[in-house]
């Protein structure tokens, strides 16, 4: 068996011991800064000292699906085509989940490892993401495993590479709106390692807790302590562990606690006529109760008779807008795929949410909680923490070039420890 694979123009060594990459959804660096010094995450603290700790930039827009796919491809959205959760397809005129738009445009590291004979498992919080990450990995006679906490009870050998009984592992199916959803993912990963069913595991959590709770909140503390205990288990099993996040999280409220929302749909209706401009919130996914589909990045689609640059200039001048860019400009600046880009992409200022029209977002689902969300450049910085030390060349690179969360497989698979048998 070959000792390396090449995926999307990067080379990865096949590991000689278990390797686990955790996408800790919504794990803003401010949580690390708060929880670790208070002793709530002793295993993460040990990783930071004995292994490696840095801050990486996530892909834009700073949403879950673009970043999970970037991580498993080791490449930005331009390469794999997933530039949001939700998407307006010009060709069909439909608004659809981008993950339902057909296979992603690039191979994944997970599938590449599996094809090279490595036992690979991907466990996600939500099933939509599992379908993407499982491509070329599980089902159709492939050797890998891919299932979600959300639908673990419906897993089959044929589609997921694992039975429902094994996927559940004696655990109850978790509530999709709960901290347990993420803990289920980590426990499933521990089971797979322990049973020798995965040499490489990709574990993708949910940001449900962080959308609702700021650093230091009891609910956040309890969740992070529970996650940390599981990091300890994975390390005790001899794994090389890498922890990063798909995006950070920012409080988007005014001083009175009300959400700070710019309703671009209303502004565009007033200026260009009702319903002429279409605002797409690509944070939208089947689970939106915890953020009301409100984030810091939206796309605008225009009819042919409205001038793109006029709208861009109008939107760029809206208070709370950080930047409005045409399709070509945003793709060049943030490495995004041209085909799926809006006529205009809008990025919010730090602390601001961009919405469609008032009434389009179910704010009552927030139930009085502060709006915390992501999507803009303010949520790009994420932790990048490894249990083992990267080699000198990689450590040097971090200090001279921008580190991205999608570098994490490079750092864990190519670190010296991954090529040695566990002690």
């Amino acid at each position: 068996m070959a000792s390396t694979i090449e995926i999307n123009e990067r080379r990865y060594r096949l590991p000689q011991r278990p390797v686990v990459v955790i996408c800790f959804d919504g794990f803003d660096p401010s949580y690390v800064a708060d929880a670790v010094p208070r002793g709530l995450m002793p295993n993460l603290a040990r990783m930071m000292v004995d292994g490696f700790a840095a801050t990486a930039m996530s892909a834009m827009p700073s949403f879950t699906n673009p970043n999970n796919v970037s991580i498993v491809c080791g490449a930005p959205p331009r390469v794999h085509g997933i530039a949001g959760n939700y998407w307006y397809d010009r060709a069909s005129g439909q608004e659809i989940m981008m993950t339902d738009a057909g296979p992603i445009a690039a191979p994944t590291i997970l599938a590449g490892l599996a094809q090279a004979g490595v036992a690979v498992a991907a466990v996600t919080a939500k099933d939509k993401l599992r379908r993407v990450l499982g491509l070329g990995l599980a089902g159709g006679g492939r050797s890998g495993i891919a299932f979600s906490a959300e639908c673990a009870g419906a897993a089959t050998i044929g589609e997921h590479g694992i039975s429902a009984e094994q996927a559940l592992g004696g655990r109850a199916l978790p509530d999709p709106y709960s901290a347990d959803l993420s803990l289920f993912v980590l426990d499933a990963g521990i089971d797979l390692l322990q049973a020798g069913r995965a040499r490489v595991a990709y574990l993708s959590l949910s940001d449900y807790v962080q959308h609702a709770h700021a650093p230091g909140a009891p609910e956040a503390d309890a969740f992070f302590a529970a996650v940390d205990a599981r990091l300890g288990r994975l390390i005790a099993l001899g794994a090389v562990v890498g922890v990063t996040a798909d995006q950070g999280m920012t409080d988007l409220t005014r001083s009175d606690g009300s959400p700070n929302i710019v309703y671009l749909g209303d502004l565009l209706d007033a200026r260009f006529g009702a319903g002429r401009c279409r605002v797409i919130c690509p944070i939208t996914d089947p689970f939106v109760r915890h953020h009301g589909a409100l984030g810091g990045f939206v796309r605008i689609h225009l009819p042919d008779d409205i001038d793109v640059e006029t709208v861009r200039d109008v939107v760029a001048a809206v208070p709370g807008v950080w930047m409005a860019l045409t399709r070509r400009d945003v793709c060049a600046r943030f490495d995004l795929p041209f085909e799926r880009e809006g006529d205009i992409a809008v990025i919010a200022a730090k602390g601001v949410a961009l919405g469609m029209r008032q009434g389009d977002h179910r704010l009552e689902d927030l139930a009085g909680a502060r709006l915390r969300s992501h999507g803009s450049v303010a949520e790009r910085p994420v932790p990048f923490i490894l249990s083992h030390t990267p080699d000198a060349a990689q450590r040097h690179r971090v200090r001279t070039e921008t580190l991205n969360n999608w570098d994490v497989f490079d750092f864990v698979l190519n670190c010296p420890a991954a090529s040695e048998a566990a002690a």
Copy 2:
């Protein structure tokens, strides 16, 4: 008289009407997003629609003096040498204000304009900054005006180009810890324009209000409304006005309201021996009551027998640290002057303050208020709002390259309106 000047490799047109650049200290984009939609800043709102609005990046570290000097030089700290407020001078072993370390290493646009025969005035909130900005501009027989709100009562024709009576303009000397300090600066600028004593005015405010108050707080609302009224006056006087900021502002507290501080001095003492490593907080200035000298950027100086890279790796692994870089790396990455850099520069994660030792910072001066401060990359984005439209080439540049706050004189002096007489 020549129609342009060249300063620090950029060319500026001499204006045919009044031009005012306001450095709105600590005016985080989140304030614009909050105040403008609520109608609190109608003049700024009109500028954003009729003129130009974008978000620019400030110089690192995101502190007052480096950014004010960058703005008046049209160049980053590498060019002019002001890389912080406060500085450890290796040669003398002294900790001093960087602005006391001798003349800055680059000419200012203000002095260049004055030498070309333009009537120029700089009014600052604090006197330390006035001394820097006044170099080559006022005093010593020069034609320009430079004074501070803090010391307006001591202004002299010989040193400041204006008498105390004219500098005060019938106003009471403001409390240095007050919103009035900034309003005094703006009122002085209006007086100078109205009296025809300045064709170009640089007005640099204080961030006292924003350190204490989040977007939407009554004190912030009142201050912004008062600033906005003065923007209206300047525009009514026919001025081309540019508003940017030296840095943003971030809440640095935990969910219980306590400040989220990493005491690097204590950590280094514990690891490398008491008092061996020297932590410099370059946010320090003579006015620190509102932030306790706590910000998101510090420098570390080491004795010869402690290995720099060892300390860098230890600090980089501290929770709450975004990045720790050696002197050479931080200078290359953030365009900083090598001579004045620490052995290690440390940048905090969003929402975290970096301190020396517990007890070195007078937290009691916060009097129970939430700690809000700046210095890290999280406070780099700042508003960049102009009363008049830049030319097409400049507008294009904003969409394809990084805009910096130190581009503001280029945008106002070289915009088409500045070359026409006021209507």
